[in-house]
Symmetry: C2
Subunit: 352 residues, 2 copies
C-alpha cells in the first residue's frame, strides 16, 4: 500500500490558506500528516483538519525537514525566501504566488491544460494567477479543437482575490454606505492594491486597477493574464489583451471573453465540446436564463461557462462568460490538484 505524504501549508491563516486546508480534506491524495505554517504572529492559533485540531507553527527553514509537499500562499516575498529552503530539504513546492511564475525553470500548471509540464519540475511548481486559470480551463478545449488566434478579456474580479482583509474592507464600506455615509467618508485602506499609494472604495464601485501599473499602462494583473496564457498554452503567437477590474463581489471571478479561433466553430459545437471537458460546467440556456453567476460559483471547484455566442461580424469570433471561485480553482483547489497530479505522475520528489 502506498505511503501517505507529509504536507505543509504555508500561509495557513490567509484567505487561500484556509481554503487549501478545506481542499486537503477533500483530496484523493494519500496524506500522512499536515503541518500548518504561518508568521510568528499567527503561531499558536489552531485550525481543524478532518476533525483534528492542528496548531499553527512559525515558518522557519527547518519547518520543511519532514515535508514531502509544501503548498505556499503567503505572498511573493515569503515564497522567494522559503520555497528554495523547502526544496533544499527535499520538499516539492506548489507556489500560489506570482514570484516564480515566469521563471523558465518553473512549470506553470493548470492540471486540465498542461500536466505534462510537471515532468520538467526541479522542485518548484507555480500555480497561475486566478483570473488566468479559469480562462485556460475554458479555452484549452477550444484551442485544441480549433486553434486560437486571439483573446480579448475584461474581468469582473472578486475582492477575496486581494485577501481576507480586503473582504473585511468591502463589508465595512458597504455597511457604512448603506447606513448613509457618503463615498468620501468610507476611508479605504487596502484596495485597489495594498502596496500602492492611493486607496479607493470598492463598495458599490468598480475599480479598473488590480495590482500596480507596469509597462505600457497595463497593470501587472493584466500582464499576468497575457504572459501566463502564453506560457501555459506554450504559444506566444496568441494575441492576448486584458482589462482587469475589481467589483464588489466577495468571491467568484467573472470574465467576458472574446476569442478568435483559427478554424470556425459554431456556438453549438463549442457548447458540446465544453460540456464534456474536464473542470468545466456548461451553464448556457438563454431561454431559461441559465448562465454562470459569481454567487453560484462559490465553494465549487469547476469553471462555469455560458453566454456562448458567435460574433456578429467575424466568422471565427466567439463571445462567452466564464466564472469560477477564485479561491478554489483560482488558487487553493488548483494547488491541491497539482499535488494530486504530481502524485498520479509519480513526480513527488525533488530531482537531483
Amino acid at each position: 500500500m502506498e505511503k501517505g505524504y507529509r504536507i505543509a501549508v504555508v500561509g495557513a491563516t490567509g484567505a487561500v490558506g484556509t481554503k487549501m486546508i478545506e481542499m486537503l480534506e477533500e483530496t484523493t491524495l494519500p496524506i500522512e500528516s499536515i503541518k500548518l505554517l504561518a508568521s510568528k504572529r499567527s503561531a499558536g492559533k489552531t485550525r481543524i483538519f478532518n476533525g483534528v485540531t492542528l496548531t499553527i507553527e512559525e515558518l522557519v527553514p527547518d519547518s520543511f525537514n519532514d515535508v514531502d509537499i509544501a503548498l505556499f500562499s503567503a505572498g511573493g516575498g515569503i515564497s522567494k525566501i522559503y520555497a528554495p529552503e523547502a526544496v533544499k530539504r527535499g520538499a516539492v513546492v506548489v507556489d500560489n504566488t506570482s514570484y516564480f511564475r515566469m521563471d523558465k525553470e518553473v512549470p506553470l500548471v493548470v492540471p486540465e491544460v498542461n500536466p505534462a509540464a510537471l515532468k520538467r519540475h526541479k522542485g518548484i511548481i507555480a500555480n497561475p494567477n486566478c483570473s488566468t486559470i479559469q480562462m485556460m480551463v475554458a479555452l484549452e478545449p477550444i484551442r485544441k479543437e480549433a486553434g486560437l488566434n486571439r483573446i480579448i478579456v475584461s474581468t469582473y474580479q472578486a475582492v477575496s482575490g486581494a485577501g481576507a482583509k480586503a473582504v473585511e474592507e468591502l463589508k465595512r464600506e458597504a455597511k457604512e454606505f448603506l447606513a448613509g455615509k457618503s463615498k468620501d467618508e468610507l476611508d479605504p485602506q487596502i484596495l485597489p492594491a495594498g502596496s500602492d499609494k492611493k486607496h479607493y472604495s470598492i463598495a458599490f464601485n468598480a475599480l479598473p486597477q488590480i495590482d500596480v501599473f507596469a509597462e505600457d499602462d497595463y497593470t501587472y494583473e493584466e500582464w499576468k493574464m497575457i504572459n501566463e496564457t502564453h506560457k501555459i498554452m506554450e504559444d506566444d503567437a496568441i494575441k492576448v489583451a486584458a482589462t482587469c477590474v475589481r467589483i464588489p463581489v466577495v468571491s467568484g471571478h467573472s470574465e467576458s471573453v472574446y476569442i478568435e479561433t483559427k478554424k470556425e466553430m459554431s456556438p453549438q459545437a463549442v457548447k458540446d465540446l465544453l460540456a464534456k471537458s474536464p473542470g468545466v460546467t456548461l451553464e448556457d440556456d438563454p431561454s431559461q436564463q441559465i448562465y454562470p453567476q459569481a454567487l453560484n460559483s462559490v465553494d465549487k471547484k469547476d469553471t462555469f461557462v455560458g453566454r456562448i455566442r458567435r460574433d456578429l461580424d467575424v466568422k471565427t469570433g466567439l463571445h462567452m462568460w466564464v466564472v469560477s471561485d477564485n479561491l478554489l480553482k483560482g488558487a487553493a483547489w488548483n494547488s491541491v490538484q497539482i499535488a494530486e497530479t504530481l502524485h498520479e505522475m509519480d513526480l513527488v520528489r525533488v530531482p537531483k
Copy 2:
C-alpha cells in the same frame, strides 16, 4: 426677448424623471412652466422645482394641450400611446424609452455626436440607451479623426438603470447578506429584468443579463448597443459586439471598450483629442492611479475616459475605460440637452 417653453415631464416620480427635474433646474433652456405627469397612482404627490412646490398630475392625452416640450421616461408602453398624443397637440417629444429608437422617422440623438439629425424630426426625438450614449461621447471624436472599424465592449452597469425599485432591491439584499443571510434567502423580485421569468440576486454578484434575451442569444441591451451605434454614427459597417453585465453599483455605468481605428492613433494623440472633446473629462494618469470610477461619476454630466492604451498586437487597436452617470448623461441630462439643442437650432415645433 424670447418666450420660455412650457415643459412636461412624463414619469416624474421615477429614477430618471426625478433627475430630469434636477437637470431642468440647471438648464439654460428658457422655461415658462413645468408640468409633472405620472400615473394615477402618483397624482397628487409633490415635487420641488427651483424652490416651488409642484403637484404631480395624472397623465392623460389632453395633458399636452399647453405643452411645447415633453420629456418622456415612463416606460415604452406609455411612450407608445402618449408620445403621438403629445405630438398631435403640438408638443415636441424627447423620449427616453427604447420604443421609437430604431424607427426610421425618429432621430436618435447624442447632442455632442449627431445634432444635425434633429433637423429631420417629425415631433419625436429618441434618447439613446444609457450604455450607448457614453460610448458614443467617448468614441465619436476618435471616429472623426481616425475612422472606426470595430468596437468590442463589455459593460459594468449600475442598478439604477433598472429603476428606483431595483436600487431598493440591491440595498435590501446587500443589508441582508451583510447581516448573514445566505444567497438563497435574498428573494430577488426584479433583476435581471422585471419582465423576465426568473430573478437573481444582484448584491455581491454580477449578472450577465440586462433586458431579456433576443436573436442569436444576445440580450436586447446588447442589441441596443449594436443597432444604436450604427444609427447614431450613421455607419452600419462598424463592427460592434457587446456583452452587457449588471454589477452591484447604484449609479454610474462603466465600460471596458476595445476599438480598432482605420488610421493608427497613438494613445497620447487619443488623450489629447479627448481632453478637448465636448462632454468628455479625461481622467488618465496611471502614475497617480487616476482613472474613471463609477462612484466618482455620480451627479456629474460628463463622460469620463481613462486607461487609454494601445493593444499589444494590433497596431490600430486601443483599449479604454469609459464611465458616466447613467441617470444623467445616460438619460435625464441627455434628454434635457436634446431640448437645449432643439432650442438653439430653432427646432422646437412639430413640423406639418
